[in-house]
Symmetry: none
Subunit: 147 residues, 2 copies
DNA sequence: TTGCATCCCATAAAATCCCATGATATACCA
DNA sequence: TGGTATATCATGGGATTTTATGGGATGCAA
């Protein structure tokens, strides 16, 4: 949960937000990150989340399962473990940073079982886009009052 | 639930009204807050309420669905846990306070499984608007006295 | 030896906890 | 019923702990 902006230093180190860390720590000492398939951002989760995804698709009889299978393979091929150090940081790779156009600061965006890491400006735009979309698709949520 | 006004101090702390707290305490030691999509106010609920919502989204679409991606970003990206301290307060963030234009006092409004936190003046207007709307849609309702 | 990655320590800022106080509501008793 | 004692609540300030972040040391590998 939550959206948090942290700095990325010259070594590529970023602090995993403490709220995130608290949750991860209960289950593991590392996270798994990979390039998002759909957006210019990094995605992260626990390894077990990826395993579960693979299992679900294996047992699925879904018509699209083959396509999903391919996507899953893409993710697995890209994914890498990132242990965090004693101060709670991970060291992101050039490949990931480049994919997300991240230079010296990064935004962590919660997604329930996963999270994303964005370039701050790009996330700002993306968030605006998503909000606009949500309002369009649910007219009942449209703001009514003006101030 | 009641409508209660409490002060917000320089640190962003607000007392969760004791009636609210009593209910929350039975199930958790913290609440989850996020910016209302439709109004200039903060919304709060129990984490399980959000989890349920996320589950509904997950089961209605697949892992790679763009719509699901957007919604989970919207919900979990914005929401944040707010544990209350030993005196029953939570510390609201700048982002939330700004969204609701809350400075030094806040109104808690019960909404069933959720509640909202408003800037007092804005809530006054909003309440008037809701009353007017209710009367318009149900002419049989006579105006009762206001307090 | 040199480059790279990991680990460790230091520090400043921020979030959290703890206690004190005043106010309000509730309970109790004459 | 009135009036006082008691408990609960809201609020303020200060102390303590956690976090984020920078710099440097250490170890491994090419």
């Amino acid at each position: 949960m939550d959206t948090i902006i942290n700095k990325v230093d010259a070594k590529g180190r970023v602090s995993l937000p403490s709220d995130y860390r608290a949750i991860v720590k209960e289950l593991s000492t590392e996270i798994v990150c990979y390039r998002s398939l759909s957006s210019p951002c990094i995605e992260g989760c626990l390894e077990e989340t990826l395993d579960k995804l693979a299992q679900d698709i294996e047992t699925s009889t879904d018509f699209f399962s083959e396509a999903q299978d391919n996507l899953t393979n893409l993710i697995f091929g890209d994914a890498k473990r990132f242990p965090f150090d004693s101060t709670g940081r991970i060291v992101l790779t050039e490949k990931l940073l480049k994919h997300a156009s991240i230079k010296d600061s990064a935004v962590f965006v919660g997604k329930g079982r996963k999270f994303q890491i964005w370039n701050p400006q790009n996330w700002e735009k993306e968030e605006a886009r998503i909000r606009a979309e949500a309002l369009k698709n649910r007219p009942s949520l449209r703001p009514q009052e003006k101030e």
